[in-house]
Protein backbone atom coordinates (compact mmCIF):
# COMPACT_ATOMS: atom_id res chain seq x y z
CA UNK A 1 0.00 0.00 0.00
CA UNK A 2 1.37 3.39 -0.92
CA UNK A 3 1.80 6.05 1.67
CA UNK A 4 -1.07 8.48 1.08
CA UNK A 5 1.31 11.43 1.24
CA UNK A 6 1.07 14.29 -1.19
CA UNK A 7 3.76 13.39 -3.72
CA UNK A 8 3.48 9.62 -3.27
CA UNK A 9 -0.30 9.91 -3.59
CA UNK A 10 -0.08 11.89 -6.81
CA UNK A 11 2.44 9.46 -8.29
CA UNK A 12 0.19 6.54 -7.45
CA UNK A 13 -2.86 8.32 -8.87
CA UNK A 14 -0.98 9.01 -12.12
CA UNK A 15 0.45 5.51 -12.46
CA UNK A 16 -2.81 3.66 -11.82
CA UNK A 17 -4.87 6.30 -13.61
CA UNK A 18 -2.75 5.94 -16.75
CA UNK A 19 -3.07 2.15 -16.56
CA UNK A 20 -6.85 2.26 -16.24
CA UNK A 21 -7.12 4.86 -19.03
CA UNK A 22 -5.14 2.59 -21.38
CA UNK A 23 -7.39 -0.33 -20.40
CA UNK A 24 -10.48 1.78 -21.14
CA UNK A 25 -9.14 2.84 -24.55
CA UNK A 26 -8.36 -0.79 -25.38
CA UNK A 27 -11.82 -1.92 -24.22
CA UNK A 28 -13.53 0.70 -26.38
CA UNK A 29 -11.44 -0.40 -29.37
CA UNK A 30 -12.30 -4.05 -28.78
CA UNK A 31 -15.96 -3.23 -28.21
CA UNK A 32 -16.12 -1.20 -31.41
CA UNK A 33 -14.42 -3.93 -33.50
CA UNK A 34 -16.24 -7.01 -32.25
CA UNK A 35 -19.90 -7.81 -32.69
CA UNK A 36 -22.31 -9.56 -35.03
CA UNK A 37 -20.26 -7.89 -37.77
CA UNK A 38 -16.49 -7.89 -37.17
CA UNK A 39 -15.06 -4.53 -38.20
CA UNK A 40 -11.46 -3.69 -38.89
CA UNK A 41 -11.50 -0.14 -37.58
CA UNK A 42 -8.77 1.14 -39.89
CA UNK A 43 -10.24 0.13 -43.29
CA UNK A 44 -14.00 0.55 -43.38
CA UNK A 45 -16.46 0.23 -46.23
CA UNK A 46 -19.40 2.60 -46.32
CA UNK A 47 -21.83 0.17 -44.64
CA UNK A 48 -19.25 -0.80 -42.07
CA UNK A 49 -18.62 2.85 -41.33
CA UNK A 50 -22.37 3.34 -40.84
CA UNK A 51 -22.51 0.34 -38.48
CA UNK A 52 -19.58 1.68 -36.51
CA UNK A 53 -20.66 5.30 -36.13
CA UNK A 54 -24.43 4.97 -36.00
CA UNK A 55 -24.87 1.78 -34.01
CA UNK A 56 -21.80 0.43 -32.37
CA UNK A 57 -19.89 3.48 -31.19
CA UNK A 58 -22.89 5.09 -29.44
CA UNK A 59 -23.50 1.78 -27.73
CA UNK A 60 -19.90 1.27 -26.65
CA UNK A 61 -19.53 4.86 -25.44
CA UNK A 62 -22.85 4.73 -23.59
CA UNK A 63 -21.77 1.45 -22.00
CA UNK A 64 -18.59 3.15 -20.78
CA UNK A 65 -20.58 5.99 -19.17
CA UNK A 66 -23.09 3.62 -17.61
CA UNK A 67 -20.27 1.49 -16.19
CA UNK A 68 -18.46 4.52 -14.78
CA UNK A 69 -21.66 5.90 -13.24
CA UNK A 70 -22.74 2.68 -11.58
CA UNK A 71 -19.26 1.86 -10.27
CA UNK A 72 -18.74 5.32 -8.78
CA UNK A 73 -22.21 5.35 -7.23
CA UNK A 74 -21.48 1.94 -5.68
CA UNK A 75 -18.13 3.10 -4.29
CA UNK A 76 -19.72 6.22 -2.80
CA UNK A 77 -22.67 4.39 -1.23
CA UNK A 78 -20.43 1.68 0.21
CA UNK A 79 -18.19 4.19 1.97
CA UNK A 80 -21.10 6.30 3.17
CA UNK A 81 -23.10 3.34 4.49
CA UNK A 82 -19.97 1.55 5.80
CA UNK A 83 -21.05 -1.55 3.96
CA UNK A 84 -19.06 -3.23 1.17
CA UNK A 85 -22.26 -4.95 0.03
CA UNK A 86 -24.13 -1.70 -0.67
CA UNK A 87 -24.84 -1.53 -4.38
CA UNK A 88 -27.36 0.54 -6.37
CA UNK A 89 -29.10 -2.53 -7.80
CA UNK A 90 -29.28 -4.44 -4.51
CA UNK A 91 -30.44 -1.37 -2.57
CA UNK A 92 -33.37 -0.81 -4.93
CA UNK A 93 -31.92 2.48 -6.22
CA UNK A 94 -31.78 1.07 -9.77
CA UNK A 95 -35.38 -0.08 -9.54
CA UNK A 96 -36.41 3.35 -8.31
CA UNK A 97 -34.74 4.80 -11.39
CA UNK A 98 -36.40 2.18 -13.60
CA UNK A 99 -39.81 3.08 -12.25
CA UNK A 100 -39.08 6.77 -12.81
CA UNK A 101 -38.06 6.00 -16.40
CA UNK A 102 -41.24 4.05 -16.94
CA UNK A 103 -43.43 6.83 -15.64
CA UNK A 104 -41.58 9.20 -17.97
CA UNK A 105 -42.20 6.90 -20.95
CA UNK A 106 -45.90 6.64 -20.13
CA UNK A 107 -46.37 10.35 -19.45
CA UNK A 108 -43.95 11.98 -21.86
CA UNK A 109 -43.39 9.35 -24.56
CA UNK A 110 -40.05 9.59 -26.29
CA UNK A 111 -39.04 13.05 -24.99
CA UNK A 112 -35.43 12.23 -24.25
CA UNK A 113 -34.78 14.50 -21.25
CA UNK A 114 -37.84 13.46 -19.24
CA UNK A 115 -36.50 9.95 -18.66
CA UNK A 116 -33.21 10.80 -16.90
CA UNK A 117 -34.94 13.52 -14.86
CA UNK A 118 -37.69 11.26 -13.54
CA UNK A 119 -35.23 8.37 -13.15
CA UNK A 120 -33.13 10.63 -10.91
CA UNK A 121 -36.25 11.40 -8.88
CA UNK A 122 -37.09 7.72 -8.56
CA UNK A 123 -33.55 6.81 -7.57
CA UNK A 124 -33.46 9.58 -4.95
CA UNK A 125 -36.76 8.47 -3.43
CA UNK A 126 -35.69 4.83 -3.31
CA UNK A 127 -32.35 5.80 -1.68
CA UNK A 128 -34.15 7.88 0.93
CA UNK A 129 -36.67 5.11 1.65
CA UNK A 130 -34.01 2.41 2.08
CA UNK A 131 -31.92 4.65 4.31
CA UNK A 132 -34.87 5.54 6.52
CA UNK A 133 -35.96 1.91 6.87
CA UNK A 134 -32.45 0.64 7.57
CA UNK A 135 -31.44 3.14 10.25
CA UNK A 136 -32.57 2.61 13.78
CA UNK A 137 -31.66 3.91 17.22
CA UNK A 138 -29.00 1.25 17.47
CA UNK A 139 -27.43 2.43 14.22
CA UNK A 140 -27.44 0.59 10.95
CA UNK A 141 -26.04 -2.86 10.46
CA UNK A 142 -25.20 -4.55 7.18
CA UNK A 143 -28.03 -7.07 7.29
CA UNK A 144 -30.68 -4.47 8.00
CA UNK A 145 -29.52 -2.38 5.08
CA UNK A 146 -29.54 -5.27 2.61
CA UNK A 147 -32.96 -6.42 3.83
CA UNK A 148 -34.37 -2.91 3.41
CA UNK A 149 -32.94 -2.95 -0.10
CA UNK A 150 -34.64 -6.26 -0.83
CA UNK A 151 -38.00 -4.96 0.40
CA UNK A 152 -37.82 -1.75 -1.60
CA UNK A 153 -36.63 -3.68 -4.69
CA UNK A 154 -39.55 -6.09 -4.38
CA UNK A 155 -42.05 -3.31 -3.86
CA UNK A 156 -40.78 -1.34 -6.85
CA UNK A 157 -40.67 -4.48 -9.02
CA UNK A 158 -44.35 -5.11 -8.34
CA UNK A 159 -45.25 -1.55 -9.28
CA UNK A 160 -43.17 -1.89 -12.45
CA UNK A 161 -44.98 -5.11 -13.39
CA UNK A 162 -48.36 -3.47 -12.78
CA UNK A 163 -47.34 -0.58 -15.03
CA UNK A 164 -46.05 -2.86 -17.81
CA UNK A 165 -49.63 -4.09 -18.25
CA UNK A 166 -50.31 -0.61 -19.66
CA UNK A 167 -47.80 -1.20 -22.48
CA UNK A 168 -48.61 -2.91 -25.76
CA UNK A 169 -47.02 -6.23 -26.67
CA UNK A 170 -44.08 -5.02 -28.82
CA UNK A 171 -43.07 -2.33 -26.34
CA UNK A 172 -43.47 -4.86 -23.55
CA UNK A 173 -40.81 -7.15 -25.01
CA UNK A 174 -38.25 -4.42 -25.50
CA UNK A 175 -39.09 -3.07 -22.07
CA UNK A 176 -38.53 -6.41 -20.35
CA UNK A 177 -35.18 -6.68 -22.09
CA UNK A 178 -34.32 -3.15 -21.00
CA UNK A 179 -35.22 -3.90 -17.39
CA UNK A 180 -32.52 -6.55 -17.30
CA UNK A 181 -29.94 -4.07 -18.46
CA UNK A 182 -29.68 -3.50 -22.17
CA UNK A 183 -27.53 -1.12 -24.20
CA UNK A 184 -29.00 -1.87 -27.64
CA UNK A 185 -31.18 1.26 -27.69
CA UNK A 186 -28.14 3.57 -27.41
CA UNK A 187 -28.26 6.95 -29.14
CA UNK A 188 -25.65 9.69 -29.28
CA UNK A 189 -27.99 12.06 -27.37
CA UNK A 190 -28.39 9.40 -24.70
CA UNK A 191 -24.63 9.07 -24.57
CA UNK A 192 -24.02 12.80 -24.10
CA UNK A 193 -26.59 13.05 -21.30
CA UNK A 194 -25.04 10.07 -19.55
CA UNK A 195 -21.52 11.38 -20.16
CA UNK A 196 -22.33 14.75 -18.57
CA UNK A 197 -23.95 13.03 -15.57
CA UNK A 198 -21.04 10.62 -15.13
CA UNK A 199 -18.50 13.46 -15.10
CA UNK A 200 -20.56 15.65 -12.77
CA UNK A 201 -21.36 12.82 -10.37
CA UNK A 202 -17.76 11.61 -10.23
CA UNK A 203 -16.52 15.14 -9.56
CA UNK A 204 -19.03 15.69 -6.76
CA UNK A 205 -18.13 12.38 -5.12
CA UNK A 206 -14.42 13.14 -5.53
CA UNK A 207 -14.82 16.33 -3.49
CA UNK A 208 -16.28 14.15 -0.71
CA UNK A 209 -13.70 11.38 -0.93
CA UNK A 210 -11.57 12.49 2.01
CA UNK A 211 -14.69 12.93 4.14
CA UNK A 212 -15.83 9.49 2.99
CA UNK A 213 -12.54 8.03 4.21
CA UNK A 214 -13.61 9.11 7.70
CA UNK A 215 -17.27 8.14 7.27
CA UNK A 216 -16.16 4.66 6.22
CA UNK A 217 -14.77 4.13 9.72
CA UNK A 218 -17.76 5.53 11.60
CA UNK A 219 -20.20 8.41 11.50
CA UNK A 220 -19.39 9.48 15.07
CA UNK A 221 -15.68 9.38 14.31
CA UNK A 222 -16.18 11.44 11.18
CA UNK A 223 -18.13 14.05 13.12
CA UNK A 224 -15.49 14.11 15.88
CA UNK A 225 -12.70 14.77 13.39
CA UNK A 226 -14.38 17.60 11.51
CA UNK A 227 -16.63 16.15 8.80
CA UNK A 228 -19.95 17.91 8.21
CA UNK A 229 -21.67 14.55 8.20
CA UNK A 230 -25.10 15.77 7.08
CA UNK A 231 -23.69 17.70 4.15
CA UNK A 232 -21.51 14.79 3.02
CA UNK A 233 -24.42 12.38 3.28
CA UNK A 234 -26.66 14.65 1.20
CA UNK A 235 -23.97 15.18 -1.45
CA UNK A 236 -23.24 11.45 -1.75
CA UNK A 237 -26.90 10.41 -1.85
CA UNK A 238 -27.75 13.09 -4.42
CA UNK A 239 -24.74 12.34 -6.62
CA UNK A 240 -25.31 8.56 -6.50
CA UNK A 241 -29.01 8.96 -7.26
CA UNK A 242 -28.11 11.19 -10.20
CA UNK A 243 -25.50 8.77 -11.52
CA UNK A 244 -27.76 5.74 -11.15
CA UNK A 245 -30.85 7.55 -12.43
CA UNK A 246 -29.25 8.71 -15.65
CA UNK A 247 -27.47 5.39 -16.24
CA UNK A 248 -30.63 3.35 -15.68
CA UNK A 249 -32.77 5.63 -17.86
CA UNK A 250 -30.33 4.93 -20.70
CA UNK A 251 -29.62 1.25 -20.20
CA UNK A 252 -31.95 -0.35 -17.65
CA UNK A 253 -30.78 -1.98 -14.45
CA UNK A 254 -27.30 -3.31 -15.11
CA UNK A 255 -26.70 -4.92 -11.75
CA UNK A 256 -23.62 -5.62 -9.64
CA UNK A 257 -21.26 -3.23 -11.45
CA UNK A 258 -21.24 -1.07 -8.34
CA UNK A 259 -20.31 -4.11 -6.26
CA UNK A 260 -17.68 -5.77 -8.44
CA UNK A 261 -15.69 -2.76 -9.60
CA UNK A 262 -15.01 -0.91 -6.31
CA UNK A 263 -14.22 -4.21 -4.65
CA UNK A 264 -11.54 -5.10 -7.20
CA UNK A 265 -10.12 -1.57 -7.02
CA UNK A 266 -9.84 -1.82 -3.23
CA UNK A 267 -7.99 -5.11 -3.57
CA UNK A 268 -5.34 -3.46 -5.76
CA UNK A 269 -5.24 0.15 -4.64
CA UNK A 270 -6.44 0.09 -1.00
CA UNK A 271 -9.51 1.74 0.54
CA UNK A 272 -8.58 5.41 0.16
CA UNK A 273 -11.59 6.89 -1.66
CA UNK A 274 -9.41 9.46 -3.37
CA UNK A 275 -8.19 6.49 -5.41
CA UNK A 276 -11.25 4.25 -5.26
CA UNK A 277 -13.68 6.78 -6.77
CA UNK A 278 -11.77 7.92 -9.89
CA UNK A 279 -10.32 4.45 -10.54
CA UNK A 280 -13.79 2.91 -10.20
CA UNK A 281 -15.00 5.34 -12.87
CA UNK A 282 -12.30 4.26 -15.34
CA UNK A 283 -12.42 0.56 -14.55
CA UNK A 284 -16.24 0.46 -14.37
CA UNK A 285 -16.36 1.95 -17.86
CA UNK A 286 -14.02 -0.76 -19.21
CA UNK A 287 -15.91 -3.45 -17.35
CA UNK A 288 -19.32 -2.69 -18.84
CA UNK A 289 -17.90 -2.17 -22.36
CA UNK A 290 -16.26 -5.60 -22.20
CA UNK A 291 -19.32 -7.26 -20.61
CA UNK A 292 -21.54 -5.80 -23.32
CA UNK A 293 -19.14 -6.93 -26.05
CA UNK A 294 -19.41 -10.39 -24.58
CA UNK A 295 -23.22 -10.13 -24.45
CA UNK A 296 -23.31 -9.13 -28.13
CA UNK A 297 -20.94 -11.80 -29.41
CA UNK A 298 -21.61 -14.87 -27.27
CA UNK A 299 -24.66 -16.09 -29.24
CA UNK A 300 -24.40 -13.66 -32.21
CA UNK A 301 -26.39 -12.56 -34.12
CA UNK A 302 -28.71 -12.82 -31.13
CA UNK A 303 -27.91 -10.82 -28.00
CA UNK A 304 -27.98 -11.26 -24.25
CA UNK A 305 -28.87 -8.36 -21.95
CA UNK A 306 -25.61 -7.04 -20.50
CA UNK A 307 -27.19 -7.15 -17.03
CA UNK A 308 -27.29 -10.95 -17.22
CA UNK A 309 -23.52 -11.06 -17.77
CA UNK A 310 -22.72 -8.66 -14.91
CA UNK A 311 -25.07 -10.58 -12.59
CA UNK A 312 -23.36 -13.85 -13.48
CA UNK A 313 -20.08 -12.35 -12.29
CA UNK A 314 -21.55 -10.34 -9.42
CA UNK A 315 -23.65 -12.94 -7.62
CA UNK A 316 -20.77 -15.29 -6.73
CA UNK A 317 -18.73 -12.28 -5.59
CA UNK A 318 -21.62 -11.13 -3.37
CA UNK A 319 -21.86 -14.57 -1.79
CA UNK A 320 -18.13 -14.64 -1.22
CA UNK A 321 -18.15 -11.17 0.39
CA UNK A 322 -21.08 -12.17 2.59
CA UNK A 323 -19.27 -15.31 3.78
CA UNK A 324 -16.08 -13.37 4.38
CA UNK A 325 -17.73 -10.77 6.65
Amino acid sequence: MTKPGSSAGKRKALRYGAGFAVLLAASILVGASLGAERLSIFSLSETESAILFDIRLPRVLLGACVGASLAVAGAGLQALLRNPLAEPYLLGVSNGAALGTMVAIILFGSFEFARPALAFGGAALATFAVYQIARSKAGMNAERLILSGVIITTLLSSVIILLTSLLDATRLRSFTFWLLGDLSQATMTGFWICFAAAIAGTLILSTQSRALNLMMVGERDALDFGVEVGRTRLAVFAASAGLVGVAVSASGSVGFVGLIVPHLIRLFAGSDNRFVIPFSALFGASFVVLADTFARTLIAPRELPVGAITALIGCPLFIWLLRKN
Binding site: M1, K3, S6, R210, M216
Partner: protein, 256 residues
Amino acid sequence: MLEVRGIKAGYGGRMVLDGISFEVADGSITAVLGANGAGKTTLVRLLNRSLDPFAGSVVIDGRQLADLSRRQIARSVAVVAQENETSFPVSVLEFVLAGRFAHGSAFGWESERDIAAAETAMNLCELEGMGHRLMNELSGGERQRVLLARALATEAGTLLLDEPTANLDLSHQAMMFRLVRERTKGCGGSAVVITHDLNLASEFADQILLLKKGKIAACGPPEEVLTEDLIADLFEVDVLLDRNPRTGNVRITTLF
Protein backbone atom coordinates in the same frame (compact mmCIF):
# COMPACT_ATOMS: atom_id res chain seq x y z
CA MET B 1 -9.68 26.90 29.32
CA LEU B 2 -12.82 24.82 28.90
CA GLU B 3 -16.00 26.10 30.52
CA VAL B 4 -19.29 24.25 30.75
CA ARG B 5 -22.18 26.49 31.75
CA GLY B 6 -25.58 25.24 32.85
CA ILE B 7 -25.83 22.35 30.41
CA LYS B 8 -29.09 20.46 30.03
CA ALA B 9 -28.93 17.72 27.44
CA GLY B 10 -30.34 14.38 26.36
CA TYR B 11 -31.81 12.41 23.50
CA GLY B 12 -35.26 13.09 22.14
CA GLY B 13 -37.30 14.19 25.12
CA ARG B 14 -35.22 12.25 27.64
CA MET B 15 -33.07 14.43 29.91
CA VAL B 16 -29.67 12.81 30.57
CA LEU B 17 -27.73 15.76 31.97
CA ASP B 18 -29.46 18.38 34.07
CA GLY B 19 -27.71 21.59 35.01
CA ILE B 20 -24.01 20.78 34.64
CA SER B 21 -21.40 23.52 35.14
CA PHE B 22 -17.66 23.15 35.63
CA GLU B 23 -14.33 24.39 34.33
CA VAL B 24 -11.21 22.65 33.15
CA ALA B 25 -8.11 24.82 33.56
CA ASP B 26 -5.31 24.82 30.98
CA GLY B 27 -2.66 22.23 31.73
CA SER B 28 -5.00 20.08 33.80
CA ILE B 29 -6.74 16.74 33.60
CA THR B 30 -10.33 16.22 34.71
CA ALA B 31 -11.57 12.69 35.33
CA VAL B 32 -15.29 12.01 35.03
CA LEU B 33 -16.51 9.22 37.28
CA GLY B 34 -19.96 7.78 37.67
CA ALA B 35 -22.05 4.65 37.49
CA ASN B 36 -23.25 3.30 34.16
CA GLY B 37 -25.94 5.55 32.74
CA ALA B 38 -24.89 8.57 34.80
CA GLY B 39 -24.39 10.62 31.63
CA LYS B 40 -20.60 10.47 31.27
CA THR B 41 -20.50 9.75 27.55
CA THR B 42 -23.24 12.28 26.89
CA LEU B 43 -21.14 14.88 28.69
CA VAL B 44 -18.12 14.15 26.53
CA ARG B 45 -20.23 14.32 23.38
CA LEU B 46 -21.34 17.82 24.37
CA LEU B 47 -17.74 18.96 24.75
CA ASN B 48 -17.12 18.68 21.01
CA ARG B 49 -20.72 19.35 20.02
CA SER B 50 -21.31 15.94 18.51
CA LEU B 51 -24.48 16.46 20.53
CA ASP B 52 -26.24 19.81 20.90
CA PRO B 53 -27.47 20.70 24.41
CA PHE B 54 -31.08 21.60 25.14
CA ALA B 55 -29.79 24.56 27.13
CA GLY B 56 -26.51 26.00 28.37
CA SER B 57 -23.22 26.38 26.55
CA VAL B 58 -19.68 25.12 26.21
CA VAL B 59 -16.91 27.67 25.83
CA ILE B 60 -13.39 26.86 24.71
CA ASP B 61 -10.72 29.54 25.05
CA GLY B 62 -13.40 32.22 25.16
CA ARG B 63 -15.23 30.97 22.05
CA GLN B 64 -18.71 29.46 22.12
CA LEU B 65 -18.64 25.94 20.70
CA ALA B 66 -22.00 26.67 19.07
CA ASP B 67 -20.39 29.39 16.93
CA LEU B 68 -17.60 27.19 15.56
CA SER B 69 -17.64 25.02 12.44
CA ARG B 70 -17.04 21.29 12.72
CA ARG B 71 -13.56 21.75 11.34
CA GLN B 72 -12.73 24.48 13.84
CA ILE B 73 -13.97 22.29 16.67
CA ALA B 74 -11.98 19.31 15.42
CA ARG B 75 -8.82 21.45 15.40
CA SER B 76 -9.21 22.32 19.08
CA VAL B 77 -10.86 19.20 20.55
CA ALA B 78 -9.74 15.63 19.80
CA VAL B 79 -11.60 12.49 20.83
CA VAL B 80 -10.57 8.99 21.85
CA ALA B 81 -13.82 7.02 21.99
CA GLN B 82 -15.09 3.51 21.44
CA GLU B 83 -14.53 2.91 17.79
CA ASN B 84 -16.80 1.40 15.19
CA GLU B 85 -15.47 -1.64 13.40
CA THR B 86 -14.88 -1.11 9.72
CA SER B 87 -15.26 -3.83 7.11
CA PHE B 88 -12.92 -2.02 4.74
CA PRO B 89 -9.17 -2.63 4.65
CA VAL B 90 -7.99 0.64 6.21
CA SER B 91 -4.30 0.91 7.12
CA VAL B 92 -3.10 2.26 10.46
CA LEU B 93 -1.46 5.27 8.79
CA GLU B 94 -4.62 6.10 6.83
CA PHE B 95 -6.60 5.81 10.05
CA VAL B 96 -4.26 8.10 11.99
CA LEU B 97 -4.23 10.61 9.11
CA ALA B 98 -7.99 11.01 9.62
CA GLY B 99 -6.90 13.13 12.58
CA ARG B 100 -5.53 15.63 10.06
CA PHE B 101 -8.81 16.01 8.18
CA ALA B 102 -9.64 19.35 9.75
CA HIS B 103 -6.24 20.78 8.78
CA GLY B 104 -5.74 22.05 5.24
CA SER B 105 -8.09 21.23 2.40
CA ALA B 106 -11.13 18.97 2.87
CA PHE B 107 -10.21 17.26 -0.38
CA GLY B 108 -6.85 16.73 -2.01
CA TRP B 109 -3.84 15.21 -0.33
CA GLU B 110 -2.28 15.48 3.09
CA SER B 111 0.74 17.77 3.30
CA GLU B 112 4.20 16.67 4.43
CA ARG B 113 3.32 18.43 7.66
CA ASP B 114 0.26 16.17 8.10
CA ILE B 115 2.33 13.04 7.48
CA ALA B 116 4.93 14.22 9.99
CA ALA B 117 2.28 14.88 12.66
CA ALA B 118 0.77 11.43 12.11
CA GLU B 119 4.15 9.72 12.33
CA THR B 120 5.12 11.59 15.49
CA ALA B 121 1.83 10.56 17.10
CA MET B 122 2.32 6.94 16.05
CA ASN B 123 5.82 6.88 17.51
CA LEU B 124 4.54 8.32 20.80
CA CYS B 125 1.98 5.53 20.99
CA GLU B 126 4.59 2.85 20.29
CA LEU B 127 3.21 2.13 16.86
CA GLU B 128 6.36 2.72 14.82
CA GLY B 129 6.59 0.51 11.77
CA MET B 130 2.91 -0.42 11.97
CA GLY B 131 1.64 2.18 9.49
CA HIS B 132 0.92 -0.37 6.79
CA ARG B 133 -0.86 -2.90 9.01
CA LEU B 134 -4.62 -3.11 8.49
CA MET B 135 -6.93 -1.97 11.28
CA ASN B 136 -9.01 -5.14 11.29
CA GLU B 137 -5.88 -7.25 11.85
CA LEU B 138 -4.87 -5.47 15.08
CA SER B 139 -5.40 -6.63 18.64
CA GLY B 140 -7.74 -4.69 20.90
CA GLY B 141 -4.87 -2.99 22.67
CA GLU B 142 -3.16 -2.00 19.43
CA ARG B 143 -6.39 -0.51 18.11
CA GLN B 144 -6.80 1.50 21.29
CA ARG B 145 -3.31 2.95 20.82
CA VAL B 146 -4.14 3.80 17.21
CA LEU B 147 -7.18 5.72 18.46
CA LEU B 148 -4.94 7.70 20.82
CA ALA B 149 -2.45 8.32 17.99
CA ARG B 150 -5.22 9.67 15.77
CA ALA B 151 -6.28 12.06 18.53
CA LEU B 152 -2.70 13.20 19.18
CA ALA B 153 -2.16 13.72 15.43
CA THR B 154 -4.78 16.49 15.48
CA GLU B 155 -2.48 18.55 17.73
CA ALA B 156 -5.67 19.82 19.36
CA GLY B 157 -5.31 21.49 22.76
CA THR B 158 -8.16 19.59 24.41
CA LEU B 159 -8.34 15.81 24.58
CA LEU B 160 -11.57 13.94 25.36
CA LEU B 161 -11.05 10.32 26.31
CA ASP B 162 -13.93 7.88 26.81
CA GLU B 163 -12.62 4.89 28.75
CA PRO B 164 -9.25 5.03 27.00
CA THR B 165 -7.71 2.20 29.01
CA ALA B 166 -10.30 -0.43 28.09
CA ASN B 167 -8.42 -3.21 26.27
CA LEU B 168 -5.01 -1.99 27.41
CA ASP B 169 -2.53 -4.01 29.43
CA LEU B 170 -0.91 -2.43 32.51
CA SER B 171 2.12 -0.99 30.78
CA HIS B 172 0.05 0.54 28.01
CA GLN B 173 -2.45 1.94 30.53
CA ALA B 174 0.46 3.75 32.13
CA MET B 175 1.71 4.86 28.71
CA MET B 176 -1.72 6.22 27.81
CA PHE B 177 -1.95 8.34 30.95
CA ARG B 178 1.69 9.44 30.70
CA LEU B 179 1.04 10.68 27.16
CA VAL B 180 -2.14 12.47 28.18
CA ARG B 181 -0.30 14.11 31.07
CA GLU B 182 2.62 15.15 28.90
CA ARG B 183 0.23 16.61 26.36
CA THR B 184 -1.70 18.59 28.97
CA LYS B 185 1.17 19.72 31.20
CA GLY B 186 3.75 20.21 28.47
CA CYS B 187 1.63 21.95 25.86
CA GLY B 188 -0.79 23.81 28.12
CA GLY B 189 -3.67 21.72 26.84
CA SER B 190 -6.35 20.06 28.88
CA ALA B 191 -7.99 16.66 29.02
CA VAL B 192 -11.31 15.22 30.11
CA VAL B 193 -11.18 11.49 30.80
CA ILE B 194 -14.04 9.11 31.46
CA THR B 195 -12.82 6.15 33.45
CA HIS B 196 -14.04 3.46 35.80
CA ASP B 197 -10.61 3.12 37.35
CA LEU B 198 -10.75 5.23 40.53
CA ASN B 199 -7.07 4.72 41.28
CA LEU B 200 -5.94 5.90 37.85
CA ALA B 201 -8.19 8.93 38.30
CA SER B 202 -6.69 9.61 41.71
CA GLU B 203 -3.13 9.36 40.40
CA PHE B 204 -3.48 11.32 37.19
CA ALA B 205 -6.37 13.77 37.50
CA ASP B 206 -6.12 17.31 38.88
CA GLN B 207 -9.87 17.49 39.19
CA ILE B 208 -12.50 14.80 39.58
CA LEU B 209 -16.11 15.21 38.51
CA LEU B 210 -18.56 12.79 40.08
CA LEU B 211 -21.73 12.36 38.08
CA LYS B 212 -24.85 10.88 39.56
CA LYS B 213 -28.03 10.49 37.49
CA GLY B 214 -27.20 13.44 35.27
CA LYS B 215 -26.20 15.84 38.04
CA ILE B 216 -22.86 16.73 39.57
CA ALA B 217 -22.47 14.94 42.91
CA ALA B 218 -19.08 16.51 43.57
CA CYS B 219 -16.33 18.31 41.71
CA GLY B 220 -12.87 19.14 42.97
CA PRO B 221 -9.35 17.85 43.62
CA PRO B 222 -9.10 14.05 44.12
CA GLU B 223 -8.44 14.17 47.85
CA GLU B 224 -11.61 16.24 48.43
CA VAL B 225 -13.88 14.27 46.15
CA LEU B 226 -12.71 10.72 46.70
CA THR B 227 -14.34 10.12 50.08
CA GLU B 228 -15.85 6.90 51.38
CA ASP B 229 -19.31 8.46 51.62
CA LEU B 230 -19.37 9.88 48.11
CA ILE B 231 -18.03 6.69 46.54
CA ALA B 232 -20.46 4.53 48.48
CA ASP B 233 -23.31 6.80 47.40
CA LEU B 234 -22.23 6.82 43.74
CA PHE B 235 -21.30 3.21 43.12
CA GLU B 236 -23.16 1.48 45.95
CA VAL B 237 -20.07 -0.34 47.19
CA ASP B 238 -18.01 -0.10 50.34
CA VAL B 239 -14.44 1.03 49.87
CA LEU B 240 -11.35 1.35 51.96
CA LEU B 241 -9.35 4.54 51.47
CA ASP B 242 -5.69 4.98 52.29
CA ARG B 243 -2.70 6.68 50.70
CA ASN B 244 -0.41 5.43 47.97
CA PRO B 245 2.90 5.14 49.91
CA ARG B 246 4.93 6.40 46.92
CA THR B 247 2.86 9.35 45.65
CA GLY B 248 0.72 10.15 48.68
CA ASN B 249 -2.43 10.17 46.54
CA VAL B 250 -5.71 8.64 47.69
CA ARG B 251 -5.86 4.89 47.07
CA ILE B 252 -9.16 3.08 46.79
CA THR B 253 -9.72 -0.58 47.59
CA THR B 254 -13.12 -2.11 46.98
CA LEU B 255 -14.47 -4.23 49.86
CA PHE B 256 -16.48 -7.24 48.78
